[in-house]
Structure formats: C-alpha cells, structure tokens
Amino acid sequence: MAGAGGRGPLNVPPEVEGLLRDLAPQVLGTLARRFGDFSTAEDAVQEALLAAATHWSRDGVPANPRGWLTQAATRRMIDAWRSDQAREARERLVAAEPARQDARDEDDTLVVLLLCCHPSLTPASAIALTLRAVGGLTTAEVARAFLVPEPTMAQRISRAKRTVAGERFGLPTSDELPARLRNVRHVLYLMFNEGYTATGGPTLHRAELSDEAIRLTRTLHASRPDEPETTALLALMLLDDARRPARTDATGALVPLPDQDRSRWDRALIAEGTALLDESSGHGVVGEYRLQAAIASLHDHAAHARDTDWPQIVALYGLLEEVTGNPVVTVNRAVATAMADGPRAGLAVLDGVDLPGHRVDAVRAHLHEMAGDVPEALAHYGAAIAGATSIPEREHLVARAARLRASTGG
C-alpha cells in the first residue's frame, strides 16, 4: 500500500515514501513530548507528511528532513490550537502539568508504538492506530486494508486516540515494560495475521499488512534486540512469509502446504528467519512465538511434504498447547499426530476438544477420509460446510466432499 495512491493523487517516489514513514513516529514522538497532546500532534504529523510528500517529490528531499517535518508539523499544531475553542482550558491544563523532560535518548518510535498498542485499546483499534501513527499510512489506506469505508475507519482511529489521550507520553517503568512489550508483540502478530490469512482478489491490499507488520517488528527488534520473544516473533513472521509466493495460485486461491511448489519459497527469508530463531533459542525462555517459529522452520526445511518431521511438530504443538491453552492448537496437534501416527491417533486427540464452529468438523472429515471411512467423512464435511464462515474454506470443503462422493460412487 505504500506509495500506490497512499497520499491521494500524488506520485511519491518509493524512497521518499519510505523516508517519510520512518520519520513519522519520530516526529510524532518529539511533538507529543513537547506539547503533551498526542491526538492533535498525530493529526499535525499526518498533514505535515502530506505537505512533505508534495514538496519533496517536486523539489527533492531537504538537507535535514526530520527538522523540516518537525517544523511543518509544529506550525500545523499551533494553527490547530489557535483555532480550537477550548484553547484556554487546554493551556491551563498544560500549565498545571509538571514540565516534561526532553528525554532525547528515548527511542520515540518505541514510545509511540507502546502507546498505540496500549492495553486499554481493543486489538482492532490498536492495529488501526499503529498503522496510522507508527506506520505513517493514511486513513484511506488503513480503511482499504480492513475493507471498511474511510469515515468508519476515521472514527475508529479518533476514538482510539481519545482512549489513550490521558496516558503519559514516555517509556513505561521497568516494572510495566515487559507486559507492555508483550502487548505490542500481540498487536503486531495480529496485524501480520490479517495479511497472512488474506487470499487474493478483493483482499489483495490486506496482504500488505504482513509487510507492514514485519517492518514494524524489525523496528521493535532493533530498539530492543535483547527480547528473545521479539526476536522469535520476527523469525516466525519471516518463516511464514517465505512461503507466500507459493501459497496462492494464479487465481488467488489458496494452495495447501503439501501441494505448494517449494522452489518458489523465499530462501533468503528462510535463512534470515532461521538465524533469528537460533538467536532467540540462546535464551532460556520458551515462549509461544519461539514454538510457532520452530514449527514454521520445520516446514520450511522439508525438501518435500513427505520429508516433514511430523513427530517433532507434534511435540512442539504439545508444548505450545501448554503455553497458550488454546484449543485451536490442539486441533493443529491432531492434524500433525495424524500425519505422524495415522488418522485414528489424530481423531483420538480431537476427543474432548471444546471448540465452537466448523473447524473440528472439517478436521474430523479429513481424518475419516484418510482412514477410509466415507460415510463418517461425508457427514462431517456436511456439518463443516454448514458452519463455515470463510468463503475459500467453504469452497474447498464443498469440492473435497464432492470429490470423495464421486470417487466412491456415492
């Protein structure tokens, strides 16, 4: 989404767009700290980005781009304050607050990221605010990624800004920081998911959310390289993203893992992700991202689907289940168990799984088909189709059931 129609009809060169988006959270951090008004500062930075996109594309990038942007945003901020009828009330408020120290050593990008991923926000609001304030995307771009009209997204973002308006702008205390970083990782992981699970066609823009999540996770990793779960999260994203070129066919339909053309996997990303995974493994903590990255790595290193180390994957899913307690993980372990020890063993894992929705039916259908029990398989396909909430999944299940029926003369 970068550049392509981001800032209206402007034709912004990619290097200018990239520079603007790197600078956006730094300038926002400076203004928010100086004036103590995150929400107005965020609007001012957006306007300054637009002005910079126009001027820099035409006249070239100034010698001190950060200074240029800071000055432009400050002017807009002061204009906004002048026109604000509540100006006096606000000035009193600012005057009453203790003087803010200009802590230059703090990484402003990290502070802005922590604020945008504040635990008081719902994940969806945090993602939207992060994309705009840290990612430097326009509201129109964020709206397009989430397939909602621009005014709807504008409301969501301004409500999110109001929610965090009362928060102190600065790094949390060292007691709070680990939990706050955990929340940032969770938001970035969900942002990656939004793109990762997107298929082709009308959801094409969503795929670029994965790029944005990776970019922001790289930023987080660069500012806090000593956090093994951040390293592992980046590894996970790269190891999953490496398969992206093979994951959809020419029509945008999803290609299942066993059928993917593995020569199309991105070897450079796999190498980088594997190195990061090794780096995160040097620390004692076994977190959920490290376990997921380890599973992704096993898939990535299998030359053929039949070479996949399923027993190892079963063991990792077992650990992941203990760490997260998420029944979806149990379903994944059932699939891996079926691949390692046969469909009956997989079905046994599913006994007692309490998960609403069609997913368990879909997996049971596959495992019964694998075991050669056609009537059971067809019954579960039917239940899964009736409950499916995703178009590609439903189409896949319908095709699968039809093929099974045809092949058995049912």
């Binding site: 989430f146 709807t152 409500r159 992981y189 997107a198 979806v328 691949m339 879909a362 909430t389 896949h396």
Partner: protein, 147 residues
C-alpha cells in the same frame, strides 16, 4: 473484526397499532431513538453501511436465461410483513456485540414508550479467508495432505 448483516422486516413485534395512528410525540421518540443509536454506531466506527429500502410497490423480480431478453415482473407477492424494510452492515469485535446492537434496534420505543420488540435478523457475512494464522496453519497442513 467480523461483519454482520442486521435486517428488519415489517413484522410489527408486540405493537399492532400502525405508525400513522401513533401520537406525534411517540413518533418523535421512536425516530430520536434510532437517530441516537445511529450516532453511537457511527462514533464507534462500527457501521459499514446502513440503508432503508423502498416499499413492495416498486419492487421487481428479474430472471434471465442468458440468451434472450431478461424477464422483468412485479413482485414477489409474499406477505407484507416478510418484506425487508431496511438493513445495516456492522463490523464488530464479536458476535456478542452484534447481538447487543440488534437488541437495541429491537427495543425501539413505540406507542406509550413501550419497546416494539421488532425481530432483528442477524447474519454473519462470510470472510474472504480464515480468521487467524493458527487456523490457517491447520488448514494449510491438512487441506490436501491426506489422500
């Protein structure tokens, strides 16, 4: 976030007095309630689309065999109360939130300030893809791997 279609038809709920026989104050209270709810949903950034439909008198039914001219007729002639009167699409965090909005719509006041209890139909909109990466992994691992 998941989208839901909320539709309302002409089923009157517990109120059998036609709206034209309500007092002006009752009509105002009814419309103000809808307006306030609409403002709330716009402010929360949850409304994707919201429409009120024209009546059955101007409805058409179209069929085509793909070769000849399409056949356009009036109708369908279903019961009036089954006609869809309006709909909105909301994009919300959970099914619980969609049901909460539907309940507010159903509780719109009618004569005497009493809730009309009009039935609101709630339908989930299909997603273009699985909703999270763990689900996606299951699907990718199993989808065609078993033969």
């Amino acid at each position: 976030m998941t989208r839901y279609l909320l539709t309302v038809n002409f089923q009157p709920g517990v109120v059998d007095t036609p709206m034209e026989e309500w007092t002006p104050e009752e009509i105002t209270a009814h419309l103000d309630y809808y307006a306030a709810l609409r403002r709330e949903l716009l402010a929360s950034g949850e409304v994707v689309q919201s429409e009120v439909l024209a009546g059955p008198d101007v409805a058409k039914v179209v069929t085509s065999d793909g070769i000849g001219a399409p056949v356009v007729t009036d109708g369908p002639f279903q019961e009036f109360k089954e006609w869809i009167a309006g709909f909105q699409v909301v994009d919300v965090e959970s099914e619980a939130r969609a049901l909460e909005i539907a309940a507010k719509l159903s509780a719109v006041p009618g004569p005497g300030g009493r809730a009309t209890q009009q039935p609101i139909h709630v339908r989930q909109v299909l997603d273009g893809s699985p909703s999270d990466a763990a689900e996606m992994e299951t699907w990718l691992e199993q989808a065609d791997g078993v033969r």
